[in-house]
């Protein structure tokens, strides 16, 4: 093997520096990550936690980041200029994007609303949980990029945080964090001895115990986009369908490529090859639209964002939603009736 100095895109440096310094890839402030929980009075310590990993919070900023990357291609100069700011303690990432694009605060609000719904759904279902103060990002992207040393560092920080808060069980809201905790951390650190439950599995189990049928305010045709990491890595394919089946006025239509053969939304390559990411999103959006459903529900913020973009580019009238909001609405209706 030749030992040539290889090239990796500058975005790697930015993301790993942000994670080390700010706890998340985009350098969001603690308050940016936690504002969704304002007023919910969630405990900040406890055995069971709802872990968001700042992923829904970041999603609003990923599209602007991709736009910046599209404009800059692989030109390092701009990135280098911003990397310099790191030394004077400035945030990079979000500031960089704010300089070049307008981050839609309404989009940020959409994802914060989803997080509130996710938490309230657990409450309605009688699940007690805490939300950690200053939650750290799982490091899933570090694993994706092959930045293993940085991942190990982040894993250690997370374990310290969890142990300090007395955590034993993690309800992982996103497939990426559930996968990284369950399947990757044990390869890097020896003391990751927490129970990890994907969010939808916790919801499915609680709904089954409750045994009630739910309904939406209006009948709805819906298809499900199984997130890759949920369906294949974590092998969670039946739980979302069980949840969907409890909603009586929902007409469920399977997309041709479903469950373990689900199609990628294109998000994984968005930070490196943004244009390619769009083409993959369009393809999947077309497959989902072909079901004729009004709504395509998913369970991952990156799928949500990229499929929304894909649908927008195809001009289809499909609405992309998170299954979280469908379940929340159905619970609201039955709550109002009770």
């Amino acid at each position: 093997m030749k030992s040539t100095k290889l090239y990796t895109p500058p975005v790697f440096r930015i993301i790993s520096m942000n994670i080390a310094k700010w706890g998340n890839p985009l350098g969001l402030k603690k308050s940016d990550c936690a504002s969704w929980a304002d007023g919910l009075q969630l405990p900040t310590k406890g055995k069971t936690i709802l872990y968001t990993g700042c992923e829904y919070q970041m999603t609003a900023y990923i599209r602007p980041l991709a736009e910046v990357l599209k404009r800059m291609k692989f030109r390092d100069t701009l990135f280098s200029a911003f990397s310099g700011l790191q030394t004077v303690g400035e945030k990079i990432g979000v500031d960089l994007m704010k300089g070049y694009t307008k981050v839609a605060s309404s989009e940020s609000e959409t994802y914060n609303r989803l997080l509130r719904m996710a938490a309230l759904t657990l409450k309605r279902l009688g699940i007690d949980f805490a939300y950690l103060d200053g939650e750290l990002y799982s490091g899933a992207l570090l694993y994706e990029y092959g930045l293993f040393d940085e991942l190990e560092e982040q894993a250690k920080r997370i374990v310290n945080q969890f142990k300090g808060a007395g955590v034993t069980k993690i309800i992982a809201l996103t497939p990426h964090s559930a996968e990284v905790f369950q399947q990757v951390y044990p390869r890097f650190i020896s003391n990751f001895d927490f129970e990890v439950v994907p969010y939808i599995s916790a919801v499915a189990e609680a709904l089954k115990k409750l045994g009630t049928e739910l309904s939406l305010p209006e009948p709805l045709t819906l298809t499900l986009h199984d997130p890759c990491h949920l369906a294949r890595a974590l092998k969670v394919t039946e739980e979302p369908r069980e949840v969907i089946r409890t909603i009586t006025n929902l007409d469920f239509r399977e997309v041709a490529l479903n469950k373990e053969l689900t199609g990628c939304c294109g998000a994984p390559c968005e930070t490196i090859f943004p244009e390619l990411s769009e083409l993959v999103a369009v393809k999947r959006a077309e497959e989902l639209s072909a079901t004729g459903a009004e709504v395509a529900a998913t369970l991952c913020p990156f799928c949500h964002a990229n499929l929304s973009k894909g649908v927008g580019l195809t001009g289809n009238k499909l609405r992309v939603a998170d299954l979280i909001e469908i379940v929340y609405q159905a619970l609201e209706v039955s709550n109002a009736r009770a």
């Binding site: 990796t8 694993y143 092959g146 294949r232 090859f273």
Partner: protein, 403 residues
């Protein structure tokens, strides 16, 4: 050699350009649909293939751990059968051996060989002043288009019949209509004029049995039979990861390859263990009967031993090149073999490219194209866990970018 960053940029520009080519996406969409239906039918009719594939994974795992021993065994068997055997540590070594056998001013006909693509065989042989004809229809189309193959089993799966008609019209200087049967007949006639003039026949190898030294070649066109039987000399290029212990194991591998490649039943399976021979006069074996007078087998390492020593990435050597993964890859569906190096495609191809065909410079952007969505693993007969391998490959790239 361009700078690694330039390789990254040029790769992505080309990939993106091709992914936006409507002509190509139409050809690809047709091929993907037809392949998926074909594979489903094949597995429905022969459902035992799924369990057989698991058995093949286990036997290949065992073989990757003892490639040296298998090479020795296969060499002894082949020599016993009257073949001449060479061991090439690098692609350049293999080219040199082949160049010495061939010389210049000759005509060669070749069955499709991925290993030949890996080392740039055609280019090299032509450079020595020889005429080299690909005899697989799709591979010939790609040769005439001056484009690399796009898939292991279906090299021109992105090309429509209208484009084929244009290529053949150019080649023959007479109008060929865009009609598939006419095109295939035209290619048939053209190639048959070459087989009997050829001095050398080239082939790869789908799998080899060490105990008998038997090369298995799977095909439907009959071009490999012609190329390896008609010319007086047959040269086979064999990657050392293709060797399994026994003839029985080789049969099992072969059956899994053809079924996952989308062929329910292979039209031809050639098993070649030596040059032709006869013992028809006084039961005394003489080599060189109706078939080739000589068989030269070139075993190629070219990074395979290094890859076999990597505790995690060695899993890539279990690949049997059926190409099932590519038909399920969302990026391949858009860009075909432009998502890949010059010989190997897709995410797994990034690993093979890094170690065997283009080095880490060429492999780096391919590695970062993989979505790590994992759908390939669902259809891979060897269940190669690419979602696990890709971060590992990237980790090695990151380390090399730092050093």
């Amino acid at each position: 050699m361009p700078e690694p960053k330039q390789i990254f940029e040029e790769y992505y520009d080309k990939l993106l350009h091709k992914a936006q080519d409507d002509d190509m996406s139409l050809g690809l969409a047709r091929s993907v649909r037809a392949y998926r239906e074909g594979r489903a039918r094949a597995l429905e009719r022969f459902p035992h293939t799924i369990a057989l594939a698991e058995e093949v994974r286990r036997l290949k795992e065992d073989c990757v751990g003892r490639m040296d021993e298998l090479v020795q065994k296969a060499t002894a068997s082949l020599e016993e059968n009257g073949a001449q055997v060479y061991y090439a540590e690098t692609g350049d070594d293999a080219l040199k051996f082949i160049g010495e056998i061939i010389g210049s001013g000759k005509i060669l006909v070749s069955g499709k060989t991925l290993t030949g693509e890996e080392i740039g065989l055609r280019h090299y042989v032509e450079g020595l002043g020889n005429e080299y004809w690909e005899t697989d229809c799709a591979q010939l189309i790609q040769q005439l288009r001056k484009e690399k193959p796009m898939h292991y089993v279906y090299p021109s799966l992105h090309i429509r019949r209208e484009q084929v008609a244009e290529i053949l019209t150019d080649l023959l200087g007479k109008k060929i209509p865009p009609d598939i049967p006419t095109e295939i007949r035209t290619i048939r006639k053209f190639l048959r004029s070459k087989y009997f003039k050829a001095d050398f026949g080239i082939s790869g190898c789908n799998v080899m049995a060490a105990d008998t030294g038997t090369i298995f070649l799977l095909e439907s066109e009959g071009n490999i039979r012609m190329s390896t039987t008609v010319p007086p000399v047959h040269i086979a290029l064999v990657g050392i990861e293709k060797i399994v212990s026994t003839l029985h194991d080789a049969f099992n591998v072969a059956e899994v390859v053809w079924r996952y490649a989308g062929f329910t039943v292979p039209l031809y399976v050639s098993m070649i263990s030596g040059p032709s021979g006869t013992a028809d006069i006084e039961c005394t074996l003489i080599h060189g009967s109706s078939g080739p007078l000589e068989l030269h087998v070139i075993f190629l390492d070219n990074g395979r031993s290094t890859l076999a020593k990597d505790p995690i990435l060695k899993e890539a050597l279990l690949c049997i090149k059926c190409g099932a993964c590519l038909f399920e890859c969302p990026v391949f569906e858009l860009a075909a073999g432009y998502y890949g190096g010059h010989g190997y495609f897709g995410g797994l191809g990034a690993i093979l490219t890094a170690y065997m065909s283009g080095g880490f410079e060429e492999a780096a952007p391919i590695a970062y194209t993989c979505l790590r969505c994992g759908r390939c693993t669902e259809v891979c007969p060897q269940s190669i866990d690419l979602s696990r391998l890709i971060p590992e490959l990237r980790h090695r790239i990151v380390e090399m970018a730092r050093s």
